[in-house]
């Protein structure tokens, strides 16, 4: 009896002990997040990315062909002056779940590019028009050339960028993200926020020569890329009716959305196929689980367990 009592006390004590332990844990982690010493490096990005709604997010998401085509035009007209897109081939632009260009369009698009090939029988390199199987050519022949043209900074290849940036989400968001499937929007949100986030540095903040202040940049408070977009810089083919309100706006905001969506496609070209197959598989598995569950009940019906 006495022992029982002691045990009761002990378990009560235990609960309090655990509670205390976790309280200390939470408090001190909060504290260490809150009072950063003045000289510590601040946490980048300074501002969290905007959360946009994308056509491709969620379990039924798919790419918006028109948006991807506009995005490609922006890449083609602007970004490709500095950034390569090495992993994308012209033929990929014909993917029906992606930009959906026809075989003819792809062919003529590729032919607009000069591709270096060779060596030929004489041992010389030569240039020829692009073919659908070629990859998009890079703007610079090598890293050194790219750096020297960009004040020492290297414009990264954009093929995977939409999956290669994930600003920290922190607790408890990273738990919710499993269910909201936010992970897929994180990259495009980041690129959009970066492209629209160039601004004058706040008073007292010095920005080094050749850098451009941007609180959304993941690695610092300024980056070497000059603001690449300006209102009206890229002409979109419009639908031709006279009603201007039907037109796609030619604004930095719209450009940033479109090119971000395009880069998500470039990073994950099979996204739509994946989600489509996912739905089939999920429906199959759930029905199958129901059948197996029913069978299991029958098998165990007369065996209390």
């Amino acid at each position: 009896m006495r022992f029982k009592n002691a045990e009761g006390q002990m378990s009560g004590m235990l609960c309090r002990l655990t509670a205390a332990l976790f309280a200390v844990g939470m408090a001190s982690s909060a504290a260490c997040a809150a009072d950063q010493p003045a000289n510590a490096t601040p946490h980048y990005p300074l501002k969290e990315p905007h959360e946009l709604s994308w056509s491709f997010s969620g379990p039924f998401g798919s790419f918006d062909k028109q948006q991807l085509q506009r995005g490609f035009k922006i890449y083609h007209d602007v970004c490709s002056n500095c950034h390569s897109l090495n992993l994308v081939a012209f033929r990929n632009l014909g993917d029906q779940d992606g930009l959906g260009f026809s075989a003819e369009q792809v062919k003529s698009l590729a032919a607009e590019y000069k591709i270096q090939d060779g060596p030929n029988d004489q041992g010389d390199m030569f240039e020829r028009p692009g073919r659908p199987s070629d990859h998009l050519p890079a703007p610079f022949p090598n890293e050194q050339a790219a750096r020297s043209a960009n004040g020492g900074a290297l414009p990264p290849d954009l093929s995977l960028l939409a999956k290669a940036r994930g600003p920290e989400r922190g607790f408890p968001w990273f738990v919710f993200d499993v269910f909201t499937q936010y992970e897929e929007s994180a990259g495009p949100d980041y690129i959009y926020s970066l492209l629209t986030g160039f601004q004058d540095p706040p008073a007292g903040v010095q920005v080094r020569e050749g850098l451009h202040y941007n609180p959304y940049f993941i690695a610092s408070d300024a980056l070497a890329m000059p603001p690449p977009l300006a209102d009206g810089a890229v002409d979109f083919p419009q639908n031709g009716d006279d009603d201007k309100t039907n037109d796609v706006p030619q604004t930095v905001d719209q450009y940033a959305r479109d090119v971000s969506a395009f880069l998500m496609w470039a990073a994950e070209p099979h996204l739509v196929e994946r989600k489509r197959m996912g739905l089939t598989v999920m429906v199959f598995l759930i029905v199958f689980a129901g059948l197996v569950g029913y069978t299991k009940r029958r098998v165990w019906a007369n065996t209390p367990h």
Partner: protein
């Protein structure tokens, strides 16, 4: 079980011919059809089957991926992207393999904690348990080397940090590290040998799994009561009872797996791994895969490098020592009111360590990390041995059947069918 004798009867001439030469069908029949299992197993016990499924899935997807993968510093990253883009269903294979590794660890952690809860390590299952610990270690080695193969930034820097741990060994440390690397830094030779080992180890795991299952079939499964099978009505034949229950567990697990695979395939990885390895650019934070985070937290909680390495490996050794650290005569936590609470605290502490491992080692995180690390070892070295001596266990039922009937209300007689259903071999 010892009293389980073979009931296999070869029916055709061919079966008799085989049975007289290599009684493999008999072995399978006795192991997976008539083998008696406790009737009261719950779904926590389906994770063994789930793990078998995951090992199979990893090996199959892995072998196909290896047909397309190029283990060289210049080609690895691009070849993985070629799999993702150009190989038919390559994205499916690769995402299956990558999320599959995480699912494998989710399942193995449930399996291990189930063992800790129901006392599965206790006499006479010590060897069974030790084989499990060996599988766990092999799994961790395999997963670590697998994560290096895509040759992204986290691959490269993770490999650098972890292999560097060996330099903590006095005198020969740095020589060992150079030997592991095949050079003076992580590079192509390292990648190449990791690929060879990553291909080899899963087959070694499969071998140890065979021993693990063999040992299991010698001593029999535990069950939530922790009481051995004493009479025929305590058990049911493996098929159909366990077969169908395991199947249900596997299908439900596959739903979770499919969710991650199709909807959040990159959630469990690090975005930096989509940047090609660059020895000149260190990522701002180097974080291992989630399933290593508790061990990583322990490593970083000890101020000395050698101490940290010892503590990290010690954390796994603790598991191996469980059969001898636990002094309790009672197997299952169901009848151990105090151990049950400490068990759940231990689970929370392990998760807490995982969270600490994902955070930068600064300020409060260091302090909490140290407290949790200390607690982790205190749990194994002090609490578990003491509890066995101090705790008064709850009264236990006389048999599995009694426990089951108690649950379903006393006075409920065993239905006629049950008795015939539970006929066990022998």
């Amino acid at each position: 079980m010892a009293e389980h004798t073979s009931t296999y009867e070869p029916r055709t001439g061919i079966e008799r011919w085989v049975d007289a030469r290599l009684p493999l069908p008999r072995l399978l029949w006795d192991s997976f059809v008539t083998y008696p299992i406790p009737r009261n197993l719950n779904y926590a016990y389906t994770f063994g089957a789930i793990l078998m499924m995951m090992l199979g899935a990893q090996i199959i997807t892995g072998v196909v991926l290896a047909m397309h993968y190029v283990p060289s510093g210049t080609m690895a990253f691009v070849s993985v992207e070629a799999i993702m883009r150009d190989v038919n269903y390559g994205w499916l294979l690769r995402y299956m393999h990558a999320t599959g590794a995480s699912m494998f660890f989710i399942a193995v952690y449930v399996h291990i904690f189930r063992g800790l809860y129901y006392g599965s390590y206790k006499e006479p299952r010590e060897i069974l348990w030790l084989l499990g610990v060996i599988i766990f270690i092999l799994m961790m080695a395999t997963a670590f080397m697998g994560y290096v193969l895509p040759w992204g930034q986290m691959s490269f820097w993770g490999a650098t940090v972890i292999t560097n741990l060996f330099s903590a060994i006095p005198l020969v440390g740095s020589a060992i590290v150079t030997w592991l690397w095949g050079g003076f830094a992580v590079g192509s030779p390292t990648l190449n040998r990791f690929f060879a080992l990553h291909y080899l180890l899963p087959f070694m795991i499969a071998g140890v799994v065979v021993l693990h299952v063999w040992a299991l079939h010698v001593v029999g499964q535990t069950n939530p009561t922790g009481i051995n099978i004493k009479a025929k009505q305590d058990a049911v034949p493996f098929t159909p009872h366990a077969t169908i229950k395991d199947a249900l567990g596997m299908v439900v697990f596959m739903i979770v797996f499919a969710y991650f695979l199709f909807y959040v395939p990159n959630y469990l990885g690090h975005s930096d791994n989509y940047i090609q390895a660059n020895p000149l650019a260190t990522p701002s934070e180097i974080v291992p895969e989630w399933y290593f985070l508790p061990f990583y937290a322990i490593l970083r909680s000890i101020p000395s490098k050698l101490g940290g390495v010892i503590a990290m490996f010690g954390a796994i050794v603790m598991l191996a020592l469980m059969p001898w650290l636990d002094t309790s005569k009672v197997r299952s936590a169901v009848y151990r009111p105090l151990y049950r609470q400490f068990f759940w605290i231990h689970v929370l502490v392990s998760i807490g360590l995982g969270y600490i491992g994902s955070q930068p080692p600064a300020g409060g995180f260091i302090i909490v990390g140290r407290i949790l690390t200390a607690y982790y070892f205190i749990h194994f070295l002090v609490i578990v041995p003491l509890l066995g001596l101090l705790e008064t266990p709850k009264p236990r039922p006389a048999s599995i059947t009694e426990a089951v009937l108690e649950k379903h209300g006393r006075g409920l007689a065993l239905p006629e069918r049950t008795v015939s259903n539970t006929k066990v071999g022998g």
